[in-house]
Symmetry: C2
Subunit: 196 residues, 2 copies
DNA sequence: TTATTATTTAACAAAATTGTTAAACAAATA
DNA sequence: TATTTGTTTAACAATTTTGTTAAATAATAA
């Protein structure tokens, strides 16, 4: 034992994440991943044995990263307004870094088994849904199913990033303008969802 | 000439659209398409010669369908409020019918050349952006770049449909509830974007 | 009925992709 | 230095996928 860790196994996973989650090349092969990581394709199989196992692992890591970012924001003891602001700020950055993660999970799900969520998620999402309900009673949020509110929030953050190339061509947005607009969105999204 | 039209060529295209745009099976092969259409795979090549040509054609048809739905709504001589309502009503139905069309275009774009839009789009999108600006001055819409408004509108319609499976598992939404929620969304979206 | 068109069947070839194995080489550790 | 671990190279096999071709069959139109 005491296998020395060269970080190559993680390098391969990180490269795969970059290709699938960040660059959105959903059809990339193990060869593409190996090339991008600068290692031999045999090594990919040496560490992960199969493409499916690698996929499964990066999906799990992606889910875990997501939870590690969300949990402290949603369970903290701050006012709802602060949580919402923090969430938009943090999650939008995360989505910009990994625009295609959800998309990858969705399309891979269609090839294999359904993705499962562990009970850990309920522990912080359910209380947050309850907080949303309270804010509706206080009049800071339009009254609706709190899950609709969550969908609105996620939609406003995710979709413009996933569909960036389409938005740019349909709405005639230059690359520079697009970046500027994404920065403005954090405020726009907050103001659409919350009123003092 | 006067080649008799059996509708099979269109059947293959429609089946491909169903698989890619509707079912989101982005990795489907020509064999999968042929099977789903109930024809021999040779016929797919007989009509389209290559997979890429078939893909190119269904993307073009998808773009054209989208334009044919949008154009009459956006260029009509109705009040903005009516147009917006009509647009949400019609486009959300379209998105529910073809949830993964944008996704397919985006991912295919990454494998081949960039998707081009003809000038036709500007003819009805630019005037509509101008209308949005007017509504902001009238105070019916929060002030922002009109293109941000369009992004918000498209996001609120598209994302919950594309990410349905994820939303269901994260927010613990049953299939029946999800359908109910999608019906409610037409009003929710309108009310988020427009205030009398 | 004959000719044309649509479709299937079967048999391939070529390429791409995944996965395995064995041997060699490189680098770190004991 | 000897040994273990990491990595590459090379050579395969198996499978999948795309694309082509020729011949047979079915259906329709002239």
């Amino acid at each position: 034992m005491a296998a020395r860790d060269t970080g190559t196994e993680q390098l391969i996973k990180d490269t795969a994440k970059r290709i699938f989650f960040s660059e959105g090349k959903l059809h990339a092969t193990t060869q593409d991943i190996a090339d991008a990581a600068g290692v031999n394709r045999t090594l990919v199989h040496y560490y992960f044995r199969s493409r499916d196992i690698l996929f499964e692992q990066i999906i799990q890591e992606g889910k875990e990263e997501w939870r590690l970012v969300m949990e402290p924001i949603l369970t903290g003891n701050h006012p709802f307004k602060v949580k919402l602001k923090k969430m938009i700020d943090t999650v939008l950055d995360l989505i910009i870094a990994y625009p295609y993660r959800e998309l990858f999970v969705i399309t891979e799900e269609k090839r294999h088994a359904e993705i499962q969520l562990d009970g850990k998620h309920d522990l912080f999402i359910k209380p947050f849904l309850a907080e949303i309900k309270e804010e509706m009673i206080k009049g800071h949020i339009k009254t609706m199913d709190p899950r609709q509110f969550m969908m609105n929030l996620l939609s406003l953050m995710s979709y413009p990033v996933v569909s960036a190339s389409l938005q740019k061509s349909v709405l005639r947005i230059s690359d520079a303008e697009y970046i500027k607009m994404m920065k403005q969105r954090k405020n726009i999204i907050f103001e659409m969802l919350y009123q003092d």
